[in-house]
């Protein structure tokens, strides 16, 4: 199911300011579900789909990073949107660095959206902002993709119900959970962590960090905590 819906946004050539991209299908997909706006370097997800909707956005070259300014999920989209910032594991395809500046979800979508999964080489991200999500959110480093698959930049989730950062290395990016809450989902972080973590809003879910926190800048939790957070 997932394989059938993987898309490939392959960059043939890139420039520093604006990647010039060629978008192509991979493994037979329905191109009506998504589009690419070269004016703004934006990938827009258009169609409703109750199944997992997955696509790859990666730089097929090794030169300048691929800049994806935003991934916009329009209203009416259901299911889980899976964004992979690298080729699928085992594909054998090489890739260069990619920056995804933002992920923008329509407020009208969030009531139906089951979740957002971001995977790939997150070390190359300049920052991801996801807001108003009612479903699960997972940020995963994709173990077969890159040894650099750690959270190297800030990841901000507003009113997210769950967050899973599963990379095994050292996470240097800050994690911020904002919004009034209540945040009912679990937050799980595996690997050593040296960034700042700020959790705001009432929370009843668990917070699990499995790794070395000795280099962590700070961990701040505010709001009513209802389920014995473990840090």
């Amino acid at each position: 199911m997932i394989l059938r819906n993987w898309f490939c946004v392959a960059v043939v050539s890139t420039s520093v300011a604006m990647a010039s991209a060629t978008v192509s299908e991979w493994n037979g997909v329905n191109p009506a579900k998504w589009s690419y706006n070269p004016q703004t370097n934006t990938i827009e997800i258009l169609a409703a789909d109750s199944a997992t909707f997955s696509f790859e956005a990666y730089n097929s070259g090794t030169g300048a990073p691929l800049d994806i300014d935003n991934i916009v999920v329009q209203s009416g989209v259901t299911g889980t949107v899976h964004v992979r910032i690298a080729p699928q594991p085992g594909s054998g395809r090489t890739y260069g660095a990619a920056n995804v500046k933002g992920i923008n979800l329509s407020a009208a979508t969030t009531g139906n959206l089951a979740g957002v999964v971001i995977s790939g080489d997150l070390g190359a991200l300049t920052g991801v902002t996801v807001s108003n999500i009612t479903g699960a959110v997972a940020a995963d480093d994709g173990t077969n993709i890159s040894v650099a698959g750690n959270l190297g930049a800030a990841l901000t989730l507003n009113s997210a119900t769950a967050l899973n950062v599963a990379g095994g290395g050292t996470h240097t990016g800050d994690i911020t959970i904002a919004g009034a809450g209540p945040h009912t989902g679990a937050i799980s972080l595996t690997g050593d962590y040296s960034g700042d973590m700020t959790l705001t809003g009432d929370r009843s879910g668990q917070v699990k960090i499995n790794g070395d926190l000795t280099s962590t800048g700070s961990v701040t939790i505010t709001g009513e905590v209802g389920d014995r957070p473990v840090c």
Binding site: A32, S35, T40, E44, N70, G102
Partner: protein
């Protein structure tokens, strides 16, 4: 003498401030945009730099036809510093007739990527105009041309006018990598979207804000009166 000197200084300050970086760029549909300093960004099912829309210049309008394939895109970018100086405001206006738009989204798109990073992208379909990042949508009367105008003094927020009437306010998306360019044209690759659209003009630049302009005129009138 002192009064005259003061008036001269003030007048000079206002004029100099308003003229710090005024500019005006206009595309009027008399030639293909790439012949007038715009950068063409186009492609089709064979990749970037191939095909593009079927183009024609008809009665001073640029007609972009991508009805053959949703893989066709054909946009035009103009790169330069955009933000207005003190006492100025920025405007971007265009007149467009979307003759056909097939698929779940609009194909005719304008982009204003402010200085210092930030993206505003408005999309015009058969019967609506909407903001890609802000998720608002306004209905339009289909099948007729519409004139749009964006104005901003700070490049953080803007006002949109449609056919000369204030329509709504909005904001730039500052969570952006894009910087210092404007764009227009058939801006969507994929999505099952095709279109036929006629672009009459695209104009942008900075002009003195009404208050600053009025003050300058007032000071100039005072100066001329003193000279008498």
């Amino acid at each position: 003498m002192f009064r005259r000197a003061l008036v001269l200084w003030l007048t000079g300050s206002v004029v100099a401030g308003a003229a710090a970086a005024p500019y005006y760029v206009a595309y009027e549909g008399n030639d293909f945009p790439e012949n007038e300093g715009w950068e063409r960004l186009y492609g089709d099912e064979n990749g970037e730099g191939n095909g593009g829309a079927t183009r024609s210049l008809v009665n001073g309008e640029l007609v972009l036809d991508s009805l053959r394939s949703p893989q066709i895109y054909d946009s035009y970018l103009f790169r330069r510093a955009l933000n207005p100086g003190p006492g100025e405001f920025f405007f971007f206006e265009w007149r467009l007739n979307v003759l056909a738009n097939n698929g779940p989204a609009a194909d005719s798109i304008i982009t204003i990527a402010r200085d210092g990073r930030g993206t505003l992208s408005l999309q015009v379909g058969n019967a609506d105009v909407y903001s890609e990042r802000e998720f608002w949508r306004l209905p339009l009367m289909p099948g007729v041309p519409h004139a749009f105008r964006v104005e901003s003094a700070d490049m953080l927020s803007y006002s949109l006018y449609v056919d000369g009437t204030f329509a709504r306010n909005g904001i730039w998306d500052l969570n952006s990598l894009n910087e210092s360019y404007v764009g227009f044209g058939d801006g969507r690759l994929g999505g099952g979207v095709t279109s036929l659209a006629s672009w009459d003009y695209v104009r942008f630049g900075t002009v003195p804000e009404p208050a600053a302009s009025a003050l300058g005129s007032m000071l100039l009138a005072l100066f001329l009166r003193i000279r008498k």
